[in-house]
């Protein structure tokens, strides 16, 4: 924390966008700027412009040769990794099915909002968490089961053709953290132990619209279509 200094006034939007793109700010300031990326498309675009501008400098960066065996290590680890393809899913064909699935899941989530005494899940005393993410024309239901570490999200089409919906978690002042892509049908995301630690009551789930394959920057780049808080059931 650097709060011992008098709080300096926030700079103008362009400067703030450049600061975020360069990674100059941290802590609360960074979190606040990232929330603006989520909420303000113009600000998000300014950050992206600065990122592209500074990327021109990469040409000047000195090269360094990695160890020769690294490519084999990388190649060997590709097997479990499925690339996100630019392939289009025939939405009209399956949209109705997905809507039905989404509706079922929503009912499933909605029906268990506050059982008086939820039986403690086996092997973990953490309660299940739900969030209702208010998106454009729907409420996207999300259910997290701590005993399996799985996050189930039901959404019908959120992204226009050629874009994908990406799910983020924002815990307190932390930066939005990508959890996975929402394919349009019910998505079950198996969270890694590190990711599980980010899922807690009070954290916010957000959905942004990103290029195919997800945000290339690790932070939301597109418009945010919905947010919702996680709470215990």
């Amino acid at each position: 924390m650097t709060a011992d200094l008098p709080h300096d006034p926030a700079p103008d939007d362009e400067t703030r966008a450049a600061e975020l793109a360069l990674g100059l700010i941290e802590g609360d300031e960074r979190a606040a700027a990232l929330r603006r990326v989520l909420a303000e498309p113009a600000f998000a675009a300014a950050v992206e412009r600065w990122r592209v501008r500074f990327a021109q400098l990469f040409d000047l960066w000195p090269d360094a040769v990695p160890p020769p065996e690294l490519i084999d290590r990388i190649d060997a680890s590709l097997d479990g990794v499925v690339p996100s393809r630019g392939r289009r899913v025939p939405w009209p064909l399956i949209a109705s099915v997905m809507t039905a699935i989404a509706a079922c899941l929503l009912i499933f989530v909605a029906v268990r909002p506050d059982p008086v005494a939820p039986p403690p899940p086996p092997a973990a005393d953490a309660p299940a968490l739900v969030a209702g993410i208010a998106a454009d024309k729907q409420v996207v239901g999300a259910l997290y089961r701590p005993e399996t570490g799985s996050l189930r999200v039901a959404a019908s089409t959120l992204a226009p053709t050629g874009r994908v919906a990406q799910l983020w978690v924002i815990a307190g002042d932390a930066a939005p953290y990508p959890l996975g892509l929402l394919t349009g049908e019910t998505t079950v995301i198996r969270l890694t132990p590190a990711d599980r630690a980010r899922i807690a009551a009070g954290a916010t789930l957000a959905i942004s619209i990103e290029p195919t394959g997800g945000s290339p920057t690790g932070l939301p780049t597109g418009p945010v279509v919905g947010t919702g808080g996680l709470s215990a059931v």
């Binding site: 412009r49 592209v52 501008r53 021109q56 990695p66 690294l70 290339p216 690790g218």
Partner: protein, 208 residues
């Protein structure tokens, strides 16, 4: 074909190709990225061959240690394998897109690992100086030439601070620690520099 093609005489156009065409190289990388997006492993390997020295350079400088840099680069190429389908031709250049992923990952690693970004002072000299490349840049692309020109127009202290922030992935606080200056001073130096850069790059007015 030169403008005077058709005239028989000395084969002048051949002598006018001193450097490999940067646009062709960029197009080739773009092609490899697109093929990588459709699970073409041979393309992925060639992409690695052509870009790993740059990406390792980026990551190594920010992480500061070789073993960690190898792990981060490994992770970066897995991300590239997964996200290659998201790269859009005409937006960022392939190498910029990849290097941005590498820089962000390296910074994430360093901050998560709590590694201090302190560095011996003499190392600061290895921050690349754009001046010698200005000519290449002028040939290679308007955007880069403009950025470099605008960076050059800054006073040396401001330019160094912004360059160090970029190349070493430092926050205001880390820059202040390294320079031994008050945080407020570093902030105002860089903010003024960023504002000057902005008006130099887009003099016709803000696009925000």
């Amino acid at each position: 074909m030169g403008p005077e093609a058709g005239v028989t005489g000395p084969e002048e156009p051949l002598t006018l190709r001193p450097v490999p065409d940067p646009n062709a190289a960029r197009a080739h990388l773009g092609n490899l990225l697109i093929r990588t997006g459709s699970e073409d492993r041979a393309a992925f390997r060639e992409l690695y061959d052509l870009t790993s020295a740059k990406l390792f350079g980026v990551v190594h400088r920010i992480c500061g240690e070789r073993t960690a840099a190898e792990d981060v680069v490994h992770e970066v190429y897995l991300l590239i394998w997964r996200r290659a389908g998201a790269w859009e031709p005409g937006r960022a250049s392939p190498i910029s897109w990849m290097a941005t992923i590498a820089r962000n990952r390296a910074i994430d690693w360093r901050r998560a690992a709590g590694v201090r970004a302190a560095r011996p002072i003499e190392d600061a000299d290895t921050v690349p100086d754009p001046s010698p490349d200005a000519l290449t840049a002028a040939v290679a692309g308007d955007d880069r030439a403009r950025l470099l020109g605008c960076m050059e127009a800054l006073d040396p202290r401001t330019r160094d601070a912004i360059r160090t922030a970029f190349f070493d992935g430092l926050t205001y606080r880390e820059l202040a620690e390294r320079a031994g200056s008050p945080l407020a001073t570093i902030k105002s130096v860089i903010r003024r520099g960023l504002q000057r850069l902005k008006s130099c790059l887009a003099p016709e007015g803000g696009d925000l």
